[in-house]
């Protein structure tokens, strides 16, 4: 999946190929343990997983960095200031408009941007924004997809039809298009549904927008699994014991979806982060002057002629982050379904 991705074929394509989700195990906990053991042996995946956590940690530490090391915040313009670097006095933003390059010291470690702001500080704060939105959206998508997939797959009939049509509608739009449409529209006046009020400037808006966009990609495969699971004997057995529908859905069916969800999640987060970057780049996600890796790339691309590193640096952070998630996600998927791998010699 990606920013300009495929839409899934509604008819005959086997889901195992298209969905990239894991396969359903009907047994209880044992598959988890087997998968965990397999994952532990995959050192590359674990290394990239650790990389992701390191980046998250760095971004969480943004306030500390800003306070203790860079002595500034992501919004302050130091346009007319001068600082001393290695004994030489320099303008943060030269009169010609070219900002200072990387100083590799406490202040302006990676240099300044066109508005005289500390890039390193903005990078970390931007990471906070991108990561919170990305992870938040992914979690929200998961929640909505579980509900939608479960209801549609379990109750079938008209519930399935209605949910199916809603999913189809969201799915019919190219992803970025829907994103900027919703993002721009909602950013104007915020979201007002009854008692729920969200300010247009809030980060919750892009989070919700991205979350809703990805729901069809996850809800579909989940619905398929629920459809299959509800016919299994253990569901029948639970029903014979007098369990109600809700109980069955949560204690019998949901645990069996968990391996699919776990496999899907890293990839979902990766795509959410990429989509947020795209939306922010176009101005429909995080609103300036708030930093996000997307807006920073946008700023950098605008002034790319004066210095590409403004665009390169946030891009590299973004790529590293998404790559880490993709490699780790690959490892998770292999751990749950190693069929796709061919072992060489031992």
């Amino acid at each position: 999946m990606a920013i300009e991705p495929a839409t899934e074929l509604a008819s005959a394509v086997p889901e195992a190929i298209v969905a990239e989700g894991g396969r359903t195990r009907v047994a209880g906990l044992a598959p988890w343990r087997i998968a965990l053991r397999r994952l532990r042996r995959n050192r590359v995946a674990l290394a990239f997983g650790a990389l992701f956590l390191v980046i998250v940690g760095m971004c969480l530490a943004a306030p500390i960095y800003a306070d203790q090391i860079a002595h500034t915040d992501p919004y302050t313009n130091h346009l007319t200031e001068q600082i001393t670097v290695h004994g030489v006095k320099k303008y943060v933003v030269a009169p010609s408009g070219v900002p200072i390059g990387p100083t590799y010291s406490g202040r302006f470690f990676l240099g300044a941007d066109g508005n005289g702001r500390d890039i390193a500080v903005r990078l970390l704060y931007g990471g906070r924004a991108s990561l919170t939105i990305g992870i938040g959206a992914a979690l929200f998508t998961t929640l909505l997809s579980i509900i939608a997939g479960m209801l549609a797959g379990y109750y079938r009939g008209w519930v399935d039809a209605v949910i199916g049509r809603l999913l189809d509608l969201v799915w019919a739009y190219p992803v970025v298009l829907l994103g900027i449409a919703l993002g721009t529209a909602l950013a104007l006046g915020g979201l007002k549904i009854g008692p729920l009020q969200i300010d247009g400037e809030s980060k919750l808006i892009p989070t919700l927008v991205i979350a809703v966009i990805y729901v069809p990609y996850m809800a579909r495969p989940l619905r398929g699994q629920v459809l299959a699971l509800r016919e299994k004997e253990f569901v029948e057995a639970a029903r014979a014991q007098g369990a109600g529908s809700l109980r069955i859905m949560f204690s019998e069916i949901l645990p069996n979806l968990s391996s699919s969800i776990v496999v899907f999640l890293p990839l979902l987060i990766a795509n959410a982060i990429l989509l947020e970057a795209a939306l922010s780049f176009l101005g429909a996600g995080v609103r300036p002057p708030n930093p996000s890796w997307g807006t920073m790339i946008g700023d950098g691309v605008e002034r790319i002629i004066s210095g590409p590193h403004l665009a390169i640096v946030p891009g590299i952070m973004l790529v590293l982050n998404v790559l880490a998630l993709n490699v780790f996600g690959d490892g998770v998927r292999d751990a749950f379904d190693p069929r796709a791998r061919v072992r060489a010699s031992h």
């Binding site: 074929l9 298009l177 998404v322």
Partner: protein
Amino acid sequence: MKRFVIRRLISMIAVLFAISIATFCIFNVIPNSDPAQRLAGRHPTKGQIEAIRRQWGFDKPVYTQYAKMMEKIFTGDLVSYVSQVDVDKEILQDAPRTFSLAIGAAIMWMVFAIALGLYTAVRAGGFADRFLTVLALIGISMPVFWIGALMNYYLGFKWNIFPNGGYVPLTEDPLQWAYHLIMPWTALSLLFIGIYSRILRSNVLDTINDDYARTARAKGLPERQVLLRHVLRNSLIPIVTLWGLDFGAVVGGGALLTETVFDLQGVGQYVAESIAQLDVPPVLAVVMFGAFFVVVTNTVVDIIYATLDPRIRLT
């Protein structure tokens, strides 16, 4: 077959209807602001706002506005809020650019994805496989607008290997047309090559040890023939459908990031700019154009799939 096509036509009308309503709602119902005020610019007088409201019909109820706009789309009479330009004409101008981008990229990504996917599958587990898989993963992890902008800067601006954005129509000069499009094609393809090569690799790995591949070898066929005529051919079938869907999505405005970065003035870029300005008519028109195209492509792809795999019956 006939029934299948008719059913698809009906569903297409339903989809277009639903999409147009949804898009209309997004722009006219959700935002809590007044479109007339937005159009009026800075410091408008009450009279000016009223005039605009009457002129564009904002004083009428929502469903009337919607009906009017739909009517205008189909009569080719639709005019943008912002630039007073005829929307349909604009789309017609921009469409060939988007098509050029889509077709070139689609061919490029398919060729490379097949080569990469097949190679990594055959050499699965080896160094080449792991290395190329990492490359594919990097391809998936790079935002297309970032890599596109960097390509444009380094290859276009700085080192002058390729032209710095812009578009030359095919009819004018085929060589220049291709020359200008190589970078956008590559930027757009990188992502898809990453995705498709991995899907193909997975499919090939599934089929390469399948029973019928074993039978093919037991027949005394050389391995190359087994790979190409049996394994690859069967592995490609599900991919053809995905390819068609992606192609449809790209034409329908899904490549707007690439178009914007390289300033190709295609349909995607047009709709992105319109959205930013909250200019509803072009958005509506493009979205419907895109949806139409996607449904047509889906249908064609389904038909092709049924011809390739005789087990599939069109419903």
